[in-house]
């Protein structure tokens, strides 16, 4: 067998079809709203205003309706004596942490704040009764923009009179000042990154069942991390004993970050179930989702780049006002600080970087991690300003990038913002992308078309993503209130089949397929003999969940580590039954054999049976064949790549036609290339959406103007092109299976690629920057402003 064939024969690395698909395709897969069909329904009254004092909440009329079971207010929750305070999971120096109640009591701070909860016999009755609740508000002025909030007379929380939750800095300010004085040229860009509404197509939901006799409380919910939800509900909101609380994430219809967090809603649902001793269920309407699902981004940034005329970057200075919304969600503090500022070096050797981030409370929906979280915002800043510098220096955007790339022999590479990049062949991936898009030909074509008043633009974005989040100890030192590990169990059954359990939680990524591939490869058993269990706190010992592109590297790492422990133990049992020394036994493709005597062999399945019989195992071995690992990564992993977007802008209408999109990603080893490509496709669409269509807008009163899918434009099939994807493979040396993670990469790259392309197209109009979303109107106005003088 040639080496080529043996590679493709591996189950790890092959595009096997997803085992998740059949039940979804036939309509039998169960999502949260399908879990308790006979339960009573919860509906939640949201605030009419973004900022107001609650004078009174009168629920009598609603409660008197025949079909209403009960109505609860914030006072009822408070009186029940539960902890009632949703916490942030990452502390920063000087952080202000006001109480975040599951139902508001005295004041509402954004239109998503809950004021009362109705429990009724069916979903219509519950929603109808909301109209019978009489709330008297004393309305207050609102503030919605993070940069305005810090100078505003409006105070969202009394604990933070200037609305500043934190003021974070990283990097060496003096070194940056020196770099700026020494550099030939300084490029400045002021930019905004609008709020993104995640829009998982399945709205958030929770269904709760409580047994007063046993005190068992079970909550099915749209969760990316059931164990975190369990811990937070147990310790921070409900006070229900952790060992009596079971959280199940059944089929989950997308998340993109929005289903990481502990929201008031699942706590309210579970609390109602406990109060009433009956099963209740809740699902957000889409409008409710728009004002309550944590938004992403919301940055206002001033950035300067110190650069020499040959394109060498000397320093980068960034100051950002980050909107946090009305309450601190779990990663609201980490996302715009450590996840953002530490990636500003992108793929470049930038000797000095300094970044300051002021996190501000506003009367808006809480902001937290959304696909790309922090890294997307950081890479956007760097990739925009590098393009702007190229344009000012008259350099080709590919050339300025090439000049500053970190070269392969510099790894591990320590950036000036505290990251140690693992591995990378940045130039190889960039060259591949430029070759695929036919970069030189495109530049020629761009020149020709301009002569006909047609405006083609080519946008390049390089990126590095810090994935997997960090080792527990490092995270703890930086303020995290959670670990960075993942738990993985590998358990042989006596008959030779295998169950794998992992603390991650799928929302469409296909973990049940890919994790089975990891285990089957390690154990040398048939793929169909491996079952994967996820998303149930009763079935998985512990877990940290799915976010930060961590499931592949950290979850996969945990499973591989456990599988290797199982093989180690099995090897000792095999040696015992083969009457050989352990050192003389080798393991290959599910079989243990004696070196030099290949006919003396035993399969891992035979060993499993022996392990459970316990009749003939080494004297110092316990029966059984399973292992649990809490795999704590050595470091982040660092996926990278280059994306190129090609657009044509119609100067008459401002319309941007995205014609070509090329993505070259390096996510290290690929467990399942088909799934990797799917992640890249979906990521591109979200990045393009942000660049061209999306962006949440508030009016001055704090009302979300883009409050439904009518006003908030999600990218649709006819607005997106086919994508051309390719990959390079630079295994991560930090990871047992060489995997770097891929969930967020493409979203990070796509927004700057598309914006760079549009700005490139508008070069003849002297447009040096435009903020997202690049709507027809925004682009047309920029062209119009530039051409006004000519007409």
């Amino acid at each position: 067998m040639s080496e080529q064939e043996s590679v493709t024969d591996r189950v790890f690395g092959s595009s096997v079809e997803r085992r998740e698909d059949r039940s979804i395709l036939t309509g039998v897969a169960e999502y949260t709203d399908e879990k308790l069909p006979d339960a009573a329904h919860v509906a939640i009254l949201r605030s009419q205003y973004a900022h107001a004092t609650l004078e009174s909440v009168d629920v009598d009329q609603a409660e008197n309706r025949d079909d209403v079971v009960a109505v609860f207010t914030g006072a009822d929750v408070e009186e029940s004596g539960i902890p009632n305070d949703i916490p942030t999971a990452w502390s920063l120096p000087g952080l202000v942490t006001p109480q975040y109640r599951i139902i508001a009591t005295d004041k509402v701070r954004h239109t998503g704040d809950a004021i009362a909860a109705v429990v009724a016999e069916d979903r219509y009755a519950a929603h109808n009764a909301l109209g019978d609740i009489d709330v008297t508000y004393d309305r207050l002025d609102a503030v919605t923009e993070p940069d305005e909030a810090v100078d505003s007379d409006v105070t969202v929380h009394e604990e933070a009179p200037d609305n500043v939750a934190f003021d974070f800095t990283i990097g060496d300010a003096d070194a940056v000042s020196e770099a700026f004085s020494a550099a030939d040229h300084v490029t400045s860009v002021d930019l905004e990154q609008p709020r993104i509404i995640p829009n998982a197509v399945e709205p958030r939901a929770a269904a709760a069942d409580y047994d007063p006799d046993s005190d068992d409380l079970t909550v099915w919910m749209t969760s990316q991390n059931p164990h975190l939800h369990r811990m937070l509900m147990s310790t921070a909101t409900l006070g229900h004993p952790e060992h009596k609380l079971r959280i199940v994430a059944p089929e989950v219809g997308g998340g993109f970050g929005s289903k990481i967090y502990h929201y008031p809603d699942e706590a309210i649902t579970a609390w109602c179930a406990k109060q009433l001793g009956r099963a209740v269920t809740w699902q957000a309407t889409r409008r409710e989702g728009y004002i309550t699902d944590c938004h992403g981004r919301d940055h206002v940034t001033e950035a300067q780049l110190a650069v020499d005329t040959d394109g060498s970057i000397r320093g980068l200075r960034v100051e950002t006002h980050a909107g946090l919304g009305a309450h601190l969600s779990q990663f609201a503090t980490a996302t715009p600080s450590y996840l953002y500022a530490t990636i500003l070096s992108s793929e470049y050797d930038i000797p000095a970087i300094h970044c300051r981030v002021i996190g501000a409370f506003t009367n808006t929906t809480p902001v937290d991690a959304y696909r790309g979280a922090g890294r997307a915002e950081g890479i956007y800043v760097t990739e925009r300003i590098v393009d702007a510098a190229a344009s000012e220096l008259g350099m080709d955007p590919a050339e300025i990038r090439r000049t500053n790339l970190i070269s392969p022999d510099e790894f591990p590479f320590e950036t000036s913002v505290a990251m140690v990049y693992d591995s990378g062949e940045y130039e190889t991936a960039m060259d591949r992308a430029l070759e695929l898009v036919e970069y030189d030909e495109l530049r020629d074509r761009q020149r020709e078309l301009r002569d006909d008043d047609r405006y083609l633009g080519i946008g390049i974005a390089n990126f590095v993503e810090s994935a997997g989040l960090s080792p527990s100890k490092a995270a703890g030192e930086l303020g995290a209130a959670a670990g960075g590990w993942e738990a993985g169990v590998v358990r042989f059954h006596p008959s030779g089949t295998v169950t794998v359990a992992c603390g991650t939680a799928d929302q469409g990524q296909g973990h049940r397929t890919t994790f089975a591939q990891v285990a089957a490869e390690e154990l040398g058993v048939p793929l169909e003999d491996v079952d994967v269990v996820e998303g149930d706190t009763d079935a998985v010992p512990q877990g940290m969940g799915t976010y930060g592109s961590r499931s592949g590297p950290v979850g996969g790492g945990a499973i591989a580590t456990s599988a290797r422990k199982v093989v180690e133990k099995a090897k000792r049992i095999a040696a015992h039954s083969l009457e050989a020394s352990v050192d003389d036994v080798e393991f290959d493709d599910g079989e243990f054999s004696v070196v030099g005597a290949p006919d003396r062999s035993v399969t891992i399945q035979e060993v499993a049976l022996e392990a459970y019989l316990g009749h003939d195992i080494p004297g110092d071995a316990e029966p059984g064949l399973e292992a649990t690992s809490y795999y704590d990564p050595e470091n982040f992993t660092f996926p990278f790549g280059t994306h190129v977007a090609v657009v044509e802008v119609d100067p008459e209408t401002g319309e941007v036609d995205l014609q070509t999109y090329v993505a070259v990603d390096d996510c290290g080893e690929q467990i399942n290339p088909m799934i990797v490509e799917g992640q890249v496709h979906g990521g591109i669409a979200q990045g393009v959406g942000a660049a061209l269509y999306e962006g949440a807008v508030y009016d001055d009163t704090g009302t979300l103007v883009t409050g439904s899918m009518n006003e908030y434009a999600l990218p649709r099939a006819h607005q997106l092109p086919d994508y051309e994807t390719d990959s390079t493979v630079t295994p991560s040396p930090h990871n047992p299976i060489g995997v770097k993670g891929v969930g967020e990469s493409a979203t990070i790259a796509a927004a700057p690629a598309v914006v760079n392309a549009v700005v490139d197209a508008l070069e003849p109009f002297d447009v040096d920057h435009l903020d997202m979303p690049l709507s027809n109107e925004r682009v047309w106005r920029a062209i119009d402003a530039a051409t006004e003088g000519d007409s």
């Binding site: 219509y124 979906g682 006819h718």
Partner: protein, 168 residues
């Protein structure tokens, strides 16, 4: 039951079902909550996402803004009616082969919209497919593989794979 309750009959995936319904009940909730056909999803309740798309009397419609009482006597196909026993419908097969789904929440609606397209136009171009799907939001796949899947389903259907069985 209240005095406004009405009795209606729907034929869902070939099975006739007679049941009582409130006049305000939406067709998608009648199917999901009253009859247990939970394959049709609810993503927006405003005709904007397409997750609730079903076929009513052979036409793809969004069932989240239709009142169930007005469809007394209608023939309905939901995703549960696509497969023929254990045999997947060509659309289901193609979505699986082409990795046209991730979380799957949009998928039932996507397939039923695509089915209408392929019934009208058995060999659509990629841009015709994209146009036909513009009322269905998918946040996971970026659409590329969905377009591949619909193209592939068209080929499979043309090659005489089993026809839609549920509605007959």
């Amino acid at each position: 039951m209240t005095d406004t309750t009405r009795e209606i009959t729907l034929t869902v995936n070939g099975t006739e079902r007679t049941f009582d319904i409130e006049p305000q009940t939406l067709l998608v909730h009648a199917l999901r909550d009253e009859l247990g056909y939970t394959g049709s999803k609810v993503g927006c309740e405003s005709s904007l996402c397409g997750a609730c798309t079903i076929h009513v009397d052979g036409r793809a419609v969004k069932s989240c803004t239709l009142l169930a009482v007005r469809y007394d006597g209608a023939e309905i196909t939901t995703v549960e009616g696509l497969a023929d026993g254990e045999d997947l419908h060509p659309l289901q097969q193609a979505f699986q082969e082409e990795h046209g789904l991730q979380c799957g929440y949009c998928t039932p609606g996507m397939m039923l919209t695509a089915l209408s397209l392929l019934e009208d136009n058995p060999d659509p171009t990629r841009s015709e497919i994209r146009d036909a799907l513009k009322g269905n939001v998918c946040r996971c796949t970026g659409y590329h593989n969905i377009v591949d899947a619909v193209e592939r389903a068209g080929e499979l259907m043309a090659a005489g794979e089993p026809e839609l069985s549920g509605a007959d």
